[in-house]
């Protein structure tokens, strides 16, 4: 019997979660529809003036993405917790952090990536320029993985609690403020003709920071919650 390497484990977990998501497609679609709906509500709320919409487009898309990714956080560990798979995952002999990273990546591919792909369409609704759209997408590509990673910590801490879904948003949203600021800041900078690089670089720095620490922190949180 061959031993599974660290990256073998990573691949296995990602593949597993993707297969499961494919067989439960409705969950993925709900998040996406929620995202589209929230964004579409704003013009109805504030009026259809193109100037104002253009100005607030990035902020609206980002806030909606933030809320949509909160919605899907509850699913990250709870199904595995309920059927006992999480117990087996805690006993993984390679590295729990690596396994958690796999789950985060899969979660992002299922709930973050669709938002990124959908964003340009929504941007068009708000009459964003092509350049601003590209920056929005770049920001979302860098930012949504951070949301999944920070969200994983919250999801692990609130595992199995009453009202965990609302609680997790309460815990995670304040921590995501920097991502929101840099993500929307990049688009603003692009519109006003300032340098975009600094915002995107800061986002990348946050991404790296989250990549290094959050899987380990999430693993610790899971150990606490499983006790």
């Amino acid at each position: 019997m061959n031993r599974l390497s660290l990256f073998g484990l990573l691949g296995l977990v990602i593949r597993r979660d993707l297969i499961l998501a494919m067989r439960r497609r409705a969950d993925v679609l709900t998040t996406l529809i929620f995202f589209v709906m929230v964004v579409s509500l704003f013009p109805l709320g504030v009026g259809p003036e193109p100037d104002m919409l253009r100005k607030m487009a990035a902020g609206v898309v980002w806030v909606a993405a933030l809320l949509a990714s909160m919605l899907s956080l509850g699913r990250m560990f709870s199904a595995d917790y309920l059927d006992g798979t999480l117990e087996q995952m805690m006993l993984v002999p390679q590295s729990l952090s690596m396994l958690v990273l796999g789950k985060i990546v899969a979660h992002w591919m299922v709930s973050g990536l669709p938002l990124v792909l959908m964003a340009p369409v929504l941007g068009l609704q708000f009459d964003m320029s092509a350049q601003a759209l590209w920056i929005l997408i770049a920001g979302l590509l860098l930012g949504t993985p951070i949301l999944s990673m920070v969200g994983a910590v919250g999801a692990a801490l609130t595992l199995g609690l009453r009202g965990g879904g609302v609680l997790v948003s309460l815990l995670v949203l304040p921590l995501c403020i920097p991502v929101l600021i840099f993500g929307t800041g990049a688009v603003d900078a692009a519109i006003t003709g300032m340098s975009v690089a600094s915002h995107l670089l800061l986002l990348s720095a946050l991404l790296l920071l989250a990549l290094v620490f959050t899987p380990w922190v999430t693993a610790q949180a899971l150990r606490i919650s499983m006790e």
Binding site: L171, G185, Q220, I224
Partner: protein, 245 residues
């Protein structure tokens, strides 16, 4: 019921010790509050630019400083409880949280009161006020997580991890909010733009010290209640004169 004494030894002695210390902290805090407020309201001169309204900062500044400081202390205690598995430090962390949230709230409130005459609006998206608001959210998250978990041990450990993640995040949040504020040319008004009068400084430091002692006194009172609640099944609690009465 059998009790493992070795684990509970520390809180029982701590309980008695802080019982003797609390009156000292409470009284000195009260006296300093009176002195500080007296200097602040009657001795310190009227500010040339801001008029009388600036006097709110004798409350605003100490509460703002302490609300951030208390978060760090709380996270420190929580981390200690998590790493060394010392129950008392976790109890200290949960005792500090409501006080910290109160300070953050007071700081926001006094900030708004000060902002109305200064900026003509109750709320301005100033970098400091915004960070203070986020800090309040972090406190509320900590308290909410602790309240949602029934098992006190898990509650302590989970909220400790949250506090640590939060304290790592606080500088990032502060920096990003500041960055956001300068980009949007917000109305950042410096509190201590003009050189402060000696009496103003005295009032400020006295109030800071008074608030600090208040935090210590209140959190010690709260930690005593937490100890009693968590150790209610132990012999030493049942033997306490205030319990047997």
């Amino acid at each position: 019921m059998a009790i493992n004494w070795f684990k509970y030894a520390a809180p029982s002695s701590f309980y008695g010790l802080i019982g003797k210390m609390i009156p000292w902290f409470a009284w000195s805090s009260g006296i300093l509050f009176i002195i500080g407020l007296y200097i602040g309201f009657f001795v310190a001169p009227t500010d040339v630019q801001q008029g009388e309204a600036y006097r709110i900062m004798f409350i605003h500044v100490p509460t703002s400083i302490l609300s951030m400081f208390v978060y760090l202390v709380m996270a420190g205690y929580a981390a200690m409880g998590l790493i060394f598995n010392t129950r008392l430090s976790s109890m200290m962390a949960s005792a500090l949280a409501p006080t910290g949230a109160l300070l953050a709230f007071l700081s926001l409130w006094t900030g708004a009161l000060w902002g109305k005459p200064m900026w003509g609006a109750w709320w301005v998206w100033d970098a400091r006020l915004t960070s203070e608001l986020v800090l309040l959210f972090l406190y509320l998250g900590f308290i909410a997580l602790q309240a949602a978990i029934d098992d006190p041990r898990r509650a302590d450990r989970a909220s400790a991890l949250l506090a640590i993640v939060g304290s790592v995040n606080v500088p990032i949040i502060y920096f990003s909010v500041k960055w956001w504020n300068t980009l949007h040319q917000g109305s950042t008004v410096k509190f201590s733009g003009t050189s402060m009068h000696v009496a103003m400084q005295q009032a400020m430091y006295t109030m800071l010290l008074a608030c600090w002692l208040y935090v210590i006194a209140v959190s010690l009172i709260r930690v005593r209640s937490i100890i009693l609640e968590r150790e209610r099944n132990t012999q030493w609690v049942t033997d306490l004169p205030e319990v047997t009465k």
